[in-house]
Symmetry: C2
Amino acid sequence: MKNYKFLIEYDGSRYYGWQRLPEKNTIQGKLENVLTGMCGREVEVIGAGRTDGGVHAKGMVANAFLETERFPEEIRDYMNAYLPEDIAVREVREASPRFHARYNAIGKTYQYTCHVGKVKSVFDRKYCTRLEETPDLEPMLEAAKLLKGQHDFRNFCVNPRMKKSTVRTVDRIDITYKGDYIHFLFHGNGFLQNMVRIMVGTLLEVGCGRMTAEQVRTVLENPDRQKAGPTALAKGLCLVSVDYD
Amino acid sequence: MKNYKFLIEYDGSRYYGWQRLPEKNTIQGKLENVLTGMCGREVEVIGAGRTDGGVHAKGMVANAFLETERFPEEIRDYMNAYLPEDIAVREVREASPRFHARYNAIGKTYQYTCHVGKVKSVFDRKYCTRLEETPDLEPMLEAAKLLKGQHDFRNFCVNPRMKKSTVRTVDRIDITYKGDYIHFLFHGNGFLQNMVRIMVGTLLEVGCGRMTAEQVRTVLENPDRQKAGPTALAKGLCLVSVDYD
């Protein structure tokens, strides 16, 4: 049995999320089914993280132990032939037996895309969230500066009690206006469930004048008593890449 | 009643094509339903052309006579609110009563997109056709040069007998390689049914060495006895724009 590292892209629209669940359409489930078929025995696929239902990925990383005579490129081609058209394996490589896609991940990059054009966008409608108003950049940048750094993000996730620690470090938040689009880029050492979407929802509240940067500071500093902004829609979110040493 | 000109964008994947047909999901049908609802009386929408099932448009032009008090921008917003998410009205303008989207069209631009990457493309899978082999540019350019100009394109369409004349002028064919994509751009005074897709299918045959440019010349010059290449898939095709005086 050898350990393999996979670089995976998917359109999450049709899926219940990454994590395998009985009777549900999931990315992990699809990958495991195909690899189990290829190897003739049950295969477990370990992802770098668990994207929620409707969230996309251009650079999800996963690993799995496989008993196979195939070369990595042949595994890739086999998987792409049997996977549905909204999941693609970009790369397969042999990895050290100790490589673990989740435990070894030291950073992640997420992008969130909003569309602010007067007219809805047809061709990328599944990959961006349409806003009715155009938020102001300056207050969002100010609030983003506060979100950066190491914080207890308990207010910026769902199910905080499921986690040993809700402290994370976000070292980069870029906000870029480009034509009819606003792109948010987040890099950090890890993100809690819904954390990027709640940060985006909060930044948009600030950009639209419904919340001040000062309130964001209060939410961060008082994790037990204050509430962050709403959770932005899943479809605007995409896992861009995962970092390893 | 005033005449209005519409600039329309759509993802044709779910549709049977532009033209209204009983019991079928069509772009014209959707537009007419929404405008009929808005005006409280039957509205006919005249398109610049009839795209086939699965073909997309970024710049379809249409016109319709409407009895309404609304401003053009309000008509646009009304339509976008009621149209499905894969059809958008980019612009509505009042037009001269004599404007006819089909009769007055003097030129059209179509783009056809192929994907030649080793790994299938997930996010634009509905807007490009995946090729198993990468065609050579040089022979395609040579064949494209022959297709340009005024010709009887009877061999490059379906149902040629439905048309009074199958003579058309194609004055521009650009072929561009960009990363994992090949873009074909066609401009002409008009295109017969399936004509762009058959031209693309023929150029790809030439690019992959299964047909010579010389054979393309023979097909063009002997409309009754020779056969062009296969019809490329609908999903790679997009109507980019329509020209008027």
